[in-house]
C-alpha cells in the first residue's frame, strides 16, 4: 500500500465532505435534494437522492451501502455457530429473529429437529423480538410525523421487553441464543410470570397509542391515502411483512410455511388491511404487536417441559446440501439460502433480508409525492439499515 500525500488525503476528505453536504447549486428547473446519509428521518445511513419540482418529487434514487458489512462473504469463513453471531446484527432491533431461519436451515440439512421445549421457547423469543422491534416503529413513525411524545412511551415499554430478553439470554440487543439443535440455555426461574406481566404493559401501551394517534385527525390526514401500494406491485417488488398485509395480501409465513416453530398450536390471527397506504401499514403493525402479546401469553401457558437441546455433535459439520428457510420476521420475510459442502463452514449463504425489497420500491413509490410525504412514506415502510445493507 503506497502512502498517499497529505494533499491527496485532504482532497479526498474534501470530496467526501462535499458529497455528503447538501448540494448548494440551485438549478432552475428541478432541485436535487440529498436526504441523508446523515438525516434524522432515515433510520441509519440511507441516502436518497431526490429530484424535486417545487414541492413534488420527480425522481428518487436510494443509495444504500453505507453500512454494507459484507456478511455474505464473511459467512464463507465462519463456522456455523459463528455465523449465528454474525447474523444477529442484521436486524438489530429484533435480533433473535435473525438467527432463527438460519438455524432452521442448518437443522434441515443436518436432519435434526429441536426438542419441543426448545421450539416453544424459540417461538416465545421470536415473538418477543417482534414486540421489541415493532413498538419502536410505532413510536418512531409518530416522531417522523411530528408527535414527539409517543416515542418515549415506546422506549419505556420496550425496556421491559428488552429486560426480559436480557434475563433469558444475556444480551438485550444481540442475544445469540439459538443453537443448531436447540437453545443455549433454559429460561431462568420466574421468567414466565414476569413475561406475562410485561405483556399486560405492552397491551396497555398499544391501547394508549391507539387512543393517542389512530383517532387523531392530523395523523389520519397525514397518513391516509399517502403512499398507496397496490397488491400486484407489492408482490412484484417482493414487499413482505406488514407492508404486504397492509395492501390486502393475506400471507404470513407463520401460518403458511411454518417450519420448526409452533404457530400451529396457538390461537392467533393474521391482520390485513385493504387500503395499502401509510395508515394501513401503521395499523397492521399495531395489531401485530397486540397479537404477538397474545401469543406470548399462550406460549407461556403451554410451555412443555423437556430438554432444550437435541443430540448434536460438539463440532458441527453440516452435511452437503442446500436449504431455504424463511420466517416472518418483524421487518418482513427474512430467509437464508444455505449451501453446504459438508464442511464446518457454509459454502454460500444468501441472506434475503426484508428491508432490501421494501426499499427497492421507493423509486417507484415516491414519484409525484410531496416532500413531507416522503418522510411519512419512508417511516411507514420501516426499514433497518443493517437489514438493507447486510
Amino acid at each position: 500500500m503506497t502512502a498517499i500525500s497529505e494533499r491527496q488525503q485532504r482532497a479526498y476528505i474534501a470530496s467526501q465532505a462535499a458529497d455528503m453536504r447538501v448540494n448548494v447549486e440551485l438549478e432552475t428547473e428541478g432541485m436535487t435534494l440529498n436526504i441523508g446519509p446523515q438525516h434524522p428521518a432515515t433510520h441509519g445511513t440511507l441516502r436518497i437522492i431526490v429530484k424535486l419540482d417545487g414541492e413534488q418529487v420527480v425522481a428518487a434514487d436510494p443509495v444504500p451501502g453505507y453500512m454494507h458489512r459484507g456478511y455474505e462473504k464473511l459467512t464463507e469463513v465462519r463456522t456455523f455457530p459463528q455465523v449465528n453471531t454474525l447474523i444477529n446484527r442484521i436486524d438489530w432491533l429484533g435480533s433473535f429473529a435473525n438467527e432463527v431461519p438460519f438455524i432452521l436451515a442448518a437443522e434441515q440439512l443436518m436432519e435434526v429437529e429441536a426438542p419441543p421445549r426448545a421450539q416453544w421457547i424459540r417461538t416465545l423469543l421470536f415473538e418477543l423480538s417482534r414486540i421489541a422491534n415493532v413498538t419502536l416503529f410505532l413510536g418512531d413513525m409518530a416522531v417522523q410525523l411530528g408527535a414527539v411524545t409517543p416515542v418515549f412511551y415506546a422506549f419505556r415499554d420496550r425496556e421491559y421487553v428488552l429486560n426480559l430478553i436480557e434475563s433469558a439470554t444475556g444480551g438485550r440487543f444481540h442475544p445469540n441464543f439459538d443453537r443448531i439443535g436447540g437453545l443455549k440455555d433454559d429460561l431462568p426461574k420466574g421468567w414466565i410470570a414476569e413475561t406475562k406481566q410485561v405483556m399486560v404493559k405492552v397491551n396497555a401501551f398499544c391501547d394508549e397509542l391507539e387512543a393517542l394517534l389512530l383517532g387523531n385527525e392530523i395523523f389520519n390526514v397525514r397518513t391516509r391515502g399517502i403512499g398507496v401500494i397496490p397488491p400486484e406491485v407489492a408482490l412484484s417488488y417482493g414487499l413482505s411483512g406488514a407492508n404486504l398485509r397492509a395492501s390486502g395480501v393475506d400471507w404470513d409465513h407463520r401460518r403458511d410455511t411454518q417450519v420448526g416453530l409452533v404457530y400451529d398450536k396457538l390461537d392467533w390471527k393474521v391482520w390485513t388491511h385493504p387500503d395499502g397506504d401509510s395508515f394501513a401499514r401503521y395499523w397492521v403493525r399495531l395489531q401485530e404487536v397486540r397479537e404477538a402479546a397474545k401469543m406470548v401469553i399462550q406460549l407461556c401457558d403451554g410451555l412443555p417441559s423437556g430438554p432444550i437441546m437435541a443430540k448434536v455433535p460438539r463440532i458441527i459439520k453440516v452435511p452437503e446440501g442446500e436449504a431455504w428457510v424463511a420466517t416472518e420476521n418483524p421487518l418482513g420475510e427474512m430467509g437464508y439460502y444455505v449451501v453446504s459442502k459438508g464442511d464446518l463452514v457454509p459454502f454460500r449463504v444468501k441472506i434475503r433480508s426484508a428491508s432490501f425489497n421494501n426499499i427497492s420500491i421507493v423509486p417507484w413509490l415516491l414519484r409525484g409525492v410531496y416532500v413531507p410525504d416522503v418522510i411519512t412514506i419512508l417511516a411507514s415502510l420501516y426499514f433497518i439499515l443493517g437489514d438493507i445493507d447486510r
Partner: protein
C-alpha cells in the same frame, strides 16, 4: 408604584423604568416558559425527568444554556449575505419586544397606552415574518430557503384568523384600547351576574378557539411547525444559525409565545383584573402583574400541551385548514357577535 409616585418622577425617569420593566416582562416569562413547560412539563408528560443536574431540579439549566450559546463561535455560512444574516434574528426579537409594549399589567403599570392597542400589537407581530424570510434567504442553504418560504406562507395565512378572532372581542368591548378591553371585562355582566365580570372567553368561546389555533400557527409550534420540521429539514430556516444569533431566535420564539398569551389573557380572560377588587385600586399595580403572569402561564400551558401531543400538518393541509375552515368560522363569529351585541 402608585399614581402619586409616578406623578413625581420626571418623564425620562419613567421611561427608564418602562424600558427596564419591558426587558423584565419579556425575558422573565420567556425563561419561565422554557424551564417550566419546555423542560419540565414536556418531560413529565413523556415519562422522563428532564434536566436535573444544573441547580436544584435543573432550574439553572436555562442559564447554563444561555451561557453555552453565548460562548459559541459566531459563524457565517460561506455563501451567506452577512448583513441580512446578522439582522434577521434582531428583526424577529424586535417585533416581540414591541408587541409587549401595549400589554397592560395594571391600571398604571403599562408601557404605552395606545388607543388602538390591539391593532398595533397584531400589526407589529407580522413584522417577524420578514425576519424569518431574511433568515431563510441569507443562509445560502436549500433547506433553510425551503423552510423560510414555507413559514412565510403559513404566517401570512394565519394572520387573518387571528385578526378576525380578535374582532369579535373588539366588537363586544367597543374599543381597541387594551385597558379599555380589560375594563369592559371587569365591569361587564353576564346574564345579569356581575361578580366575575364578563371575561370574554365565556361569550367568545369560538373566537377563543380560533385565536388559540391561529396563535399556535403564528408561533410555528406543532401541529403547525412545518417550517422548523426537525425530522425533515433539520431545523428549517434556523439550520445555519448558532451561538448568540440562535439564542435570539430561541428567546424570540418563547417570548412571542408569552406575548401572544398575554394578549390572549387580556382579550379573553380579563387581563390583570380580579373580580373582587375595584378597577382603579392602587393595590392592582402590585397584584396586576402577578395576575397577568398567572393567566399568561395558563394559556401557554395550553399551547405547550398541544405542542407535545399532536403530529404536524403538511403545508398544504395547513393552508386548507386556515383558508377553508378558520376564516369562515371566524367571519361567522363576527357576524353573530355583532348581531347579539346590538340585540342585547
Amino acid at each position: 408604584m402608585s399614581a402619586v409616585v409616578l406623578a413625581e418622577l420626571a418623564y425620562w425617569q419613567v421611561s427608564i423604568f418602562r424600558v427596564l420593566g419591558l426587558l423584565a416582562a419579556v425575558l422573565l416569562p420567556a425563561g419561565t416558559i422554557v424551564y417550566l413547560f419546555l423542560f419540565k412539563m414536556m418531560s413529565f408528560m413523556q415519562s422522563r425527568l428532564g434536566p436535573m443536574e444544573a441547580g436544584p431540579y435543573g432550574s439553572m439549566q436555562l442559564l447554563a444554556e444561555v451561557g453555552k450559546w453565548l460562548q459559541k463561535e459566531d459563524l457565517f455560512p460561506d455563501g451567506a449575505d452577512r448583513k441580512v444574516f446578522a439582522w434577521a434574528p434582531i428583526v424577529v426579537v424586535a417585533s416581540t419586544f414591541i408587541m409587549y409594549t401595549v400589554v397592560p399589567f395594571g391600571p398604571d403599570a403599562w408601557f404605552a397606552n395606545i388607543p388602538t392597542g390591539i391593532y398595533f400589537a397584531l400589526a407589529v407581530s407580522s413584522v417577524s415574518v420578514i425576519g424569518i424570510l431574511m433568515a431563510g434567504w441569507a443562509s445560502a442553504n436549500k433547506y433553510s430557503l425551503m423552510g423560510g418560504l414555507r413559514s412565510a406562507g403559513q404566517l401570512i395565512a394565519y394572520e387573518l384568523p387571528l385578526v378576525l378572532a380578535v374582532l369579535g372581542v373588539v366588537i363586544q368591548a367597543g374599543t381597541m384600547d387594551m385597558q379599555g378591553i380589560v375594563e369592559a371585562q371587569r365591569n361587564g355582566e353576564i346574564f345579569g351576574l356581575g361578580f366575575i365580570g364578563n371575561p370574554y372567553i365565556l361569550t367568545q368561546f369560538v373566537g377563543f378557539a380560533v385565536f388559540m389555533i391561529a396563535m399556535q400557527a403564528e408561533l410555528t409550534q406543532p401541529p403547525f411547525d412545518m417550517p422548523v420540521a426537525e425530522s425533515e429539514l433539520v431545523a428549517g430556516y434556523l439550520t445555519e444559525y448558532s451561538g448568540f444569533r440562535f439564542l435570539l431566535f430561541f428567546i424570540g420564539e418563547y417570548a412571542t409565545a408569552g406575548a401572544f398569551s398575554a394578549i390572549a389573557a387580556v382579550l379573553f380572560l380579563g387581563g390583570w383584573s380580579l373580580p373582587g377588587i375595584g378597577f382603579d385600586a392602587d393595590i392592582m399595580n402590585l397584584l396586576g402583574p402577578i395576575v397577568m403572569l398567572t393567566k399568561m402561564m395558563l394559556i401557554v400551558f395550553l399551547v405547550m400541551w398541544f405542542r407535545f401531543t399532536y403530529p404536524r400538518f403538511r403545508e398544504d393541509q395547513l393552508q386548507i385548514f386556515a383558508w377553508k375552515y378558520l376564516i369562515p368560522i371566524s367571519l361567522v363569529n363576527i357576524a353573530v357577535t355583532a348581531v347579539l351585541k346590538v340585540a342585547f
